[in-house]
């Protein structure tokens, strides 16, 4: 029997000052109309706070004969409070980047602050039983409480159990298959609580209460008054979502532990996910129904890893590889009846399909020739009423008005189709090796993803826009291989200065690319100086190394950008080189 306690208190670190870009040329405010204050200003946001965590552990360990029992009980409690302050000052006297240099007139100074609290409490128990390291069984539970939920709904009880059979410890096995050093079969079923809603956002607290927050202000007389409005539609029953995880796995190592690895398959179910029940209520009610814990989503997949390590003379080496596959589907989710089974747009039905799917127009390439254009014009082909033009993207007319099957030669939202089920990478993999010889070592790690489709897009949306809102000018892209009267075989549409669907600014198969990639994520070459040299100068070890990341990449997405880059115009992925020296005394 053992008892221990821990108490941790820390203050939450302050937040950094984010950098906000200003207009490239402050005199060109008409071109660069940012939604930021007009006058030069300095602002600073600070948050700090405290958090403590108390943990009490009570553990019990006992062996009798071949039986061994281990039991643990934990009580955990956390509480935190955060303080946010932000302030801004306008009209600087001089361009010094400090508050004192800004106008001290009260109209030029702005401040705001808020506080938030959070608290959790958990009871955790685990009982582990092991017979001769052959049969292993474990039962555990968590009883978790959170401040977010109403009294009576704060607590969630999440039990788990697992069994394992270390078959390689059986005497019959040792006799028959002595080249297998280790073989273990595992099975588990477990539940955990989670605090995410259907959009994968953290559940905000106090949704069980009717409360009011600040809203639209309004001027009466000479005074600006703050308004108040209900913040959420309360639901007293909001509580935890539960994830049930089922796993079956094998661990093995053989040939004197030279080959080792593991294999797992899993099926997880997320139940009672919090989400809006939009469609069940007449809109004249005047508010949406409160969110409820009802949605369900399931995940399944597998993963394996393999490793081979050995030595030839004084060369030591190892090679490894791993791969994982996972896919999800919605089992229960309220959606617009339009999308449901039998609805006009049932191709967008979420039930039974993964959450990350790509929808868009189906492209037939570009309108390249006058005769092609004449034919389209004669047929009355149009983009929401806009006439086709040379160099525009030609989209397939899939449906008519209100998703009907009567074609209308009009390209609009009714012609959207499912382009891919793999909006998220379904398979990720990695492999690599390391070799070392006489103090010299070489490590390489490759990483990649596949079964993955990318809709190339910009920060404004899918597809490549011809210009970005008021913030970005034309992308250099449009000076490249684009349709011109003297370049009719161009790869990309004609620049027309418009963000129309046909000029490229929408999700479509024209911009869809296989998102698979393979990259040399990390390469490291090191050399440790021989010990004999070092002792003389009192140094215990010295290693010189060269390290490079993202050195090689193979992907179809590279036509536009790095495969790990989010948008065409977002911050690119860095290639880095490090030269280093480690010295220990």
């Amino acid at each position: 029997m053992n008892y221990s306690t821990s108490y941790i208190f820390n203050s939450v670190a302050g937040q950094s000052n984010p950098y906000l870009p200003a207009a490239p040329d402050p005199n060109q405010t008409n071109v660069f109309a940012f939604n930021s204050p007009q006058a030069p200003y300095l602002s600073e946001n600070v948050n700090n706070g405290w958090k403590y965590q108390i943990d009490w552990y009570l553990s019990y360990d006992r062996k009798f004969g071949l039986h061994s029992i281990n039991a643990v009980g934990v009580f955990e409690r956390t509480e935190m409070k955060e303080y946010y302050v932000n302030s801004a000052a306008y009209s600087p006297v001089s361009t010094i980047d400090q508050y004192f240099a800004y106008s001290t007139s009260s109209g030029n100074r702005y401040g705001n602050g808020s506080e938030s609290v959070a608290a959790t409490q958990s009871w955790i128990g685990r009982l582990h039983y092991d017979y001769a390291n052959r049969y292993i069984a474990e039962f555990s539970f968590r009883n978790d409480g959170r401040y977010e939920f109403a009294p009576g709904h704060k607590w969630g009880f999440f039990p788990s159990g697992s069994v394992a059979w270390n078959i390689s410890q059986e005497s019959f096995f040792k006799k028959a298959l002595s080249w297998i050093n280790n073989l273990k079969l595992r099975a588990s079923i477990g539940s955990t609580g989670n605090l995410y809603d259907v959009n994968n956002n953290a559940i905000s607290g106090y949704q069980y209460q009717t409360y009011y927050g600040n809203s639209n202000g309004y001027v009466v007389g000479n005074t600006y008054y703050t308004g108040i409005a209900p913040s959420v539609v309360p639901n007293a029953n909001i509580t935890w979502a539960t994830t049930v995880e089922r796993n079956f796995g094998v661990d093995f190592s053989l040939l004197n532990h030279r080959l080792s690895g593991s294999f797992d398959i899993f099926k997880n179910t997320m139940k009672n996910i919090l989400g809006p029940r939009t469609i069940t209520l007449p809109t004249t009610y005047g508010q949406s129904l409160a969110d409820e814990n009802y949605a369900q989503r399931s995940f399944h997949g597998w993963e394996y890893s393999l490793q081979w390590q050995d030595r030839i003379g004084n060369i030591a080496y190892s090679v490894y590889g791993n791969m994982g596959f996972a896919i999800d589907k919605w089992d229960k989710l309220d959606q617009d009846p339009l999308y449901a089974e039998g609805g006009a747009a049932s191709f967008q039905n979420a039930i039974g399909h993964p959450a990350d799917r790509i929808f868009g127009l189906k492209s037939d390439g570009l309108i390249r020739t006058q005769s092609q254009l004449d034919e389209l014009t004669a047929a009355g082909y149009n983009y929401q009423g806009r006439k086709p033009y040379l160099g525009a993207i030609l989209y397939k007319d899939i449906r008519g008005q209100d998703y009907s099957s009567t074609l209308d030669n009009t390209i609009d939202a009714n012609d959207v189709v499912l382009l891919s089920n793999n909006g998220k990478p379904r398979i990720n993999f990695g492999f690599g090796f390391n070799v070392s010889w006489n103090g010299l070592s070489l490590d390489a790690h490759f990483q990649g993803m596949t079964k993955y489709d990318r809709m190339i897009g910009v920060q404004e949306g899918g597809g490549i826009y011809q210009h970005g809102g008021s913030q970005r000018l034309y992308y250099p892209f449009w000076a490249g291989d684009v349709w011109q009267s003297d370049n009719v075989d161009a790869k990309y549409p004609r620049p027309v200065g418009q963000n129309w669907e046909e000029s490229g600014a929408t999700n479509s198969s024209f911009w869809l690319r296989d998102g698979s990639y393979l990259r040399l994520k990390n390469l490291n070459i090191g050399y440790s100086l021989p010990l004999e040299w070092l002792r003389k100068v009192g140094v215990s070890s010295t290693q010189v190394f060269v390290n490079g990341t993202n050195l090689l990449t193979f992907s179809k997405v590279k036509e536009f950008m790095d495969p790990e880059q989010k948008y065409y115009d977002s911050y690119p992925i860095m290639k880095t080189f490090t030269l280093g020296l480690n010295v220990k005394f």
């Binding site: 009294p151 927050g213 001027v219 007389g221 000479n222 308004g227």
Partner: protein, 600 residues
Amino acid sequence: MKKIFYNNIIIFLVASVVLVSSCSKILDQSNLNSYSSTQIWDDANLANAYLINLYSIFGNYNVSLDGLSDQQSGISFAANAVTTTNGGGALAGLANWSDSYTNIRLINQGISSVRTGTLPLTTQNEILGQLYFMRAYVYFSLVTTYGGIPYIKVAQSVSDSLNVPRNSTKECFDYLIQDLDSALTYLPTHILSSSSDYGKIDGNFAIAFKGKVLLYKASPQFNPSTPWDNVYWADAYSANHLAYDSLQQQGYQLISDYSQVAINSGNTEVVFCVINMSPNKTSNWESTTRPASLSRGNPYSCPTWEIVKAFPMVDGKSYNDPSGKFYQTDNGFAQNFWQNRDPRFGKSVLYNAELYPAAGTPSGYRQYTSLGIANTLDAYGINPNAGIPAASNNNTYTGFFILKNGDLNLSQSQVTNYDVNYNVMRFAEVMLNYAEAANETGHSSEALDVLYQIRKRAGIEAGTDEHYGIVATSRTEIRQAIMNERNIELCFEGFRFKDLRRWRMFNVLNGVAKHGMESIAINSDGSQMAMTQAQQLATTYQLLTSNFQYLSRQVPMTGVLLNTLPDSYYFAPIQQSVIAAGNKLEQNTDWGGSFVPTIN
């Protein structure tokens, strides 16, 4: 050893008791960032804040509204732009269904809760007056957009039967009047502009708005079979007559300078306004109307050649009226459109090479719009001799900019600080509402008198007959004169599209092209001026409006060129998903349903 062990156990037990006893408490953290809903109707400040939130129903300046009509550029109605799936497209923008019902719920909740609080009775009454008015105001937008709607008067609870049918359009109008009458019993009659309550709804706004509601009820939109001869015109007349008389007695009147109707805050013409006050409450009017080279972004929508033509000449006659002093052919007028016009034209529209003394511009600054001469951000047209590509904004620009209600004291960097009050209703509208109802009920001299007053203030010459250029005598002619006057007097204030809908006159928009006016600098002999010379002269603002030739061009130049507004658009369809969620709602007859949105 043993003792230490016992001590530990004791500490553990004591601590456990302490913890367990506070266990249930620690998770009961209170929400630090909210107001409790139970105190609102006991606290005058919170009750006021509750109302303040609802005042946003009155909106603010919105340059897009007249882009729906013939007054400004913009094609909002491509073929089939309105469907049951999108629930009305641009039409639904005039009354957002779900936002409206969200506000209605808050209003109903307020009406039913005020009396449960401990506020003084007079405060409770003021709150009730405002809430009843707001309910009518929100439902009015819905009824004029969709026809009759479920006129819900209680904040429903989930256990109520929520699946409610639409009230007939006639019932809705009756309820609107009931709500306005309730409001009138509680509201203070007149909140003076000097009052600290200025900006809140008063009885005068309610009485004038009641006139407006009854005018709509009588109008052709709701009475297609008896557009001008239905019984509701009499009610419209008496309500508007009462509003006109009672407001006039209290000192409401047209101010002398038309250009100041909004800029001069608290003037005698304002019946109700949304007060803007920089930096807390500003409007984007300046930044969405001003020429881009002096603003922070492009104007969204610009005056069309059609509205420019519609302004009368200074003698009150149209340019193409042969009896007018300034009669001209279409072509002659196009080269001369800024001369001898109704002064309201120069106060509402900024045209090529007009003086434009915006803050920060050099003295004598003229606003050019000619391609090659104007700043590229302001240029309109395709002149191949300009030496530069066609202007990039030819689809929204017209060669004209909106000047009305602009605040020229704002420098370029300050345009987003625009804080001129937004007139929701001004006395000129009350007068025109009265004139329209008077004309349809046989009181034509009263109608004409209103038109004379409006034109007198505008600065139109009285003429020897003191009729300010109006020759209309018959009921139909006077009706047309009133329609024309509304188009001009209330231009760019968001009235035109709603008026065309009310009069069932979408023929003015359906398939009708809008135009802009390209300007090209010419020599005195009419030949095109060399571009370098024109640019040289323009740098010192020596090129005048008359130094240009004017060519009309259809706007937009590319994309969908014409509006398509079939008669079914007089009432928007209720969105398919709204009907799916509340299956007692019937769709309008023009949209495949059985609900008749009209009265007659």
